[in-house]
């Protein structure tokens, strides 16, 4: 039973036609003690099926600790949205509901390698000298 309904699949497929470059969804999950790992992996898999530009890579968080460390992933389920480079875009927890849109938008922006931010924001961010870590807490309802 797919997670995405047929009508959603066709909409997503259409949006992903705009992809300008390859995107890799790097998923970290594990078999036990992870309530939403199965759904997260299945969702990423369904999205990857809708575009030849989207590649899926699934890692076992418990067994492949070196890969998790490389991506700085410290909890699961996790999806890294990686373009030609790793921009630091992460989803922890299953991106259902409104956050599914966030996932699609992340895929599109990462593919283009363009944040889409206003010129003034870009100017301010260019002045950053220290690392910045943003954690946005959401709920799916």
């Amino acid at each position: 039973m797919p997670l995405l309904e047929e009508s959603i699949r066709s909409q997503v497929s259409q949006r992903l036609e705009a992809l300008e470059g390859p995107v890799k969804l790097v998923v970290f999950s594990q078999e036990v003690e992870c309530d939403y790992c199965r759904e997260t992996t299945a969702l990423a898999h369904e999205v990857a099926e809708l575009s030849h530009q989207v590649e899926l890579e699934v890692h076992d968080f418990a067994l492949e600790t070196e890969v998790a460390q490389k991506y700085g992933v410290d909890k699961i389920p996790a999806i890294v949205v990686e373009g030609r480079q790793d921009h630091g875009v992460r989803f922890y927890g299953v991106p259902f509901g409104y956050e599914f849109t966030s996932l699609l938008e992340a895929i599109l922006s990462v593919s283009a390698g363009d944040s889409g931010l206003a010129a003034e924001s870009r100017r301010l961010l260019a002045e950053l000298r220290h690392p910045l870590h943003l954690q946005v807490f959401v709920t799916l309802t």
Binding site: G88, A118, H133, L134, Q135, V136, V138
Partner: protein, 65 residues
């Protein structure tokens, strides 16, 4: 979430995570997340609610200087 990820794409110094509160209750608890969305900046500053682009960018730049 969208905006935070845009910042990450714009700057190599920025990392941005969506964190689903109910799946990570220990983190939601640690940062006293009572309402969402809530943005935690470098573990120090917290911003409540949905923010416009200029609000978020200005707030984080101010926090870092």
């Amino acid at each position: 979430v969208r905006l935070a990820h845009q910042l990450a794409i714009e700057s190599d110094l920025v990392k941005a995570d969506m964190v689903e509160s109910s799946e990570f209750p220990h983190l939601a608890n640690k940062y006293s997340v009572m309402a969402v969305p809530k943005t935690v900046v470098n573990e120090e500053l917290t911003l409540e609610g949905s923010l416009a682009e200029t609000q978020l960018v200005t707030a984080v730049m101010k926090a870092l200087t």
